[in-house]
């Protein structure tokens, strides 16, 4: 059994990263922005796993980091969605385009 070339997962991760950045700079709904950020985090995760799997020093701390990142993403998603619900209760929507009250103060 031979492993796949290292280029393939790297191209996948750069595609996911670019899509994530594209989503963050074009979307207006906060939940959609957070989904785009999840794409960026997944791209980073693919990179960590790839670089650890193909590591010439057999250093697999990248795998450990990948596990930690999933847990951190869980925490971040939990707090983020709580914030969104809180904003929705106050404003009635979570479209970042319409959250302008602070600018006027």
């Amino acid at each position: 059994m031979t492993a796949i070339p290292i280029e393939y997962p790297l191209i996948l991760s750069s595609a996911l990263f670019s899509l994530g950045v594209f989503g963050v700079i074009t979307q207006k709904n906060a939940v959609r922005i957070l989904i785009a950020i999840e794409l960026i985090i997944n791209a980073a995760n693919i990179n960590f796993v790839t670089f650890a799997s193909y590591n010439p020093n057999a250093d697999i701390s990248g795998w450990v980091f990948a596990l930690f990142i999933i847990a951190v993403a869980a925490g971040e998603a939990a707090i983020g969605l709580a914030i969104f619900i809180n904003v929705f209760r106050n404003f009635g929507e979570i479209n970042v385009k319409h959250l302008f009250t602070l600018r006027e103060v």
């Binding site: 957070l34 951190v72 925490g75 971040e76």
Partner: protein, 497 residues
């Protein structure tokens, strides 16, 4: 000492803070409904912080004895200094939140989050590997997101929390991608591993790949420390969140962010310093100019202080540039000293804004009119803080700026020092405007409230004494200060093989 003992002793400050947080939660669930809890929670936080500060001093004397090969943590002077910064900052926040937050429900959760955020800064300061560094960074960020949105009924706080959260999450995603590329280049997540594997990101000058990694890391940390052009969130978030949390963002979170920046740029990326030094120089210039000029037309004092805190980030960024260009000792002294001075100055200023908001219901210059006639002592403390922010002796802000600018001169970046001095001169205008309004204008009819709060008085008094003591400390104990700075600089340099 056995390995286990060393680990336990090294982590004692963090454990103390977490233990305090758990106690606060248990109290919150048991006596959280009784009116007395609004005094018990801050008192327990203060005791926890004092014990944690003591624990920092009794950590194991040989910091390299931490187990693991290579060790994941290093509890040396850098760690001790930033721990004390974080604990002092948390102390200020507890005393100002004592009054600010007293009407909120489940106060125990607020102070628990504050203690956990402080623990996050301690972990950042001690980490020598990207995994604990990043996890500590996220501990700090996540607690801060929750603290900003803590006043749930307030629309402004909700908006501030969503803005800070979305930008913070994006920044941490970009930072992660940068770290992943760095890991691919160096085959190790150890902060100091880059020195062994130079070929991929560039030996002395970064190649295209190294530049890209550097750009991702600069964007990621730039959001956290609010360097221009990643500063757009600062005025809104500072204005929207309740003032004690704003205080934490301006002094505690900033210290953690700078610990993070120093760890990444002065340890990991030091080999390609010729690549990032110009980038940070440009960002420092932009930050100083934008921060100071944008503060001029503002009428809300919170916003003025928010922009002035952006400007101060610019001054501290000078230290990074001059460190890269050889003035390592003076740059280290300047950055560490200015972060401490920042706590005393910004802590006082935001606390006074808090008092004025309580007295008059607003924070614009209109509400500061004639403050000296209503409340002379508060005005006096605010004047000292503002003069210190402007960099006028005999206050700590003077030596903070002096060391930073002098390090720029020593390293040959005189243009940075000249721009910084010019911008400091500009900053005198808006600080003087607040002082002028406070002393020489009549208070409006509506604002005649003279109620003072003894807890705030103690806090302001302590901060002002600290401010002046820091100045005279730098004046009379210069050899010791230089010795400490060179010790920290050596500690940072010893990892570079």
């Amino acid at each position: 000492m056995s390995e286990f003992q060393i680990v336990i002793q090294s982590f004692l400050p963090v454990y103390t803070l977490l233990f305090g947080a758990v106690i606060l939660l248990i109290l919150d669930w048991t006596i959280g409904k009784k009116p007395v809890h609004k005094h018990i929670m801050p008192s327990i936080s203060i005791i926890t912080l004092i014990v944690a500060g003591y624990m920092v001093f009794i950590r194991p004397k040989d910091p390299s004895s931490f187990p693991g090969n290579p060790p994941l943590f290093y509890f040396g002077e850098f760690y001790a200094y930033f721990s004390l910064l974080a604990i002092t900052a948390a102390f200020v926040i507890v005393l100002s939140a004592w009054k600010d937050m007293e009407l909120e429900l489940s106060l125990g959760v607020f102070y628990a989050l504050l203690l956990i955020a402080t623990a996050g800064i301690l972990i950042i300061a001690g980490a020598m590997n990207f995994i604990p560094l990043y996890v500590g960074f996220e501990v700090l960020s996540i607690s801060t997101y929750a603290m900003i949105g803590f006043k749930k009924k307030s629309r402004a706080a909700a908006e501030a929390s969503i803005k800070y959260f979305l930008l913070g999450a994006l920044a941490s995603g970009i930072l992660l991608f940068g770290i992943s590329l760095f890991y691919g280049a160096t085959h190790s997540l150890q902060l100091t591993s880059a020195v062994n594997v130079l070929n991929v990101i560039g030996t002395t000058k970064p190649n295209a790949y190294g530049l890209f990694v550097m750009a991702l890391l600069v964007v990621g940390v730039g959001f956290k420390i609010a360097a221009v052009p990643f500063h757009v969130w600062v005025p809104d978030v500072y204005k929207g969140s309740s003032l004690s949390v704003t205080n934490f963002l301006a002094i505690g979170s900033k210290a953690g962010g700078f610990a993070f920046v120093f760890k990444i740029f002065l340890l990991s990326l030091i080999t390609i310093k010729s690549g990032w030094a110009p980038v940070w120089a440009v960002l420092a210039i932009l930050t100083m100019i934008v921060g100071n000029l944008a503060a001029l037309p503002q009428v809300s004092v919170t916003r003025i202080l928010a922009y002035s805190s952006i400007a101060h980030v610019g001054y501290i960024l000078i230290a990074l540039v001059s460190y890269a260009h050889g003035a390592t000792e003076m740059a280290t002294i300047g950055a560490l000293y200015h972060l401490m001075a920042n706590i005393f100055m910004k802590g006082t200023a935001f606390t006074v804004v808090l008092i004025v908001v309580y007295q008059t219901g607003g924070d614009t210059l209109e509400h500061f009119k004639g403050l000296s006639k209503r409340d002379p002592l508060t005005t006096f403390f605010m004047t000292i803080a503002l003069l210190s922010l402007a960099g006028i002796p005999p206050f700590a802000g003077f030596f903070g700026k002096f060391f930073l600018f002098y390090s720029a001169v020593l390293s040959g970046d005189t243009y940075l020092a000249i721009i910084a001095i010019m911008m400091s001169a500009v900053s005198v205008f808006y600080y003087a405007r607040i002082i002028y309004v406070m002393y020489f204008q009549e208070p409006s009819e509506a604002n005649t409230e003279t109620k003072t709060y003894p807890r705030f008085f103690i806090l302001l008094f302590a901060l002002t004494i600290g401010n002046i003591a820091l100045f005279f400390g730098a004046l009379f104990l210069t050899p010791q200060l230089v010795e400490f700075g060179s010790k920290v600089a050596q500690e940072l340099a010893q990892f570079i093989i």
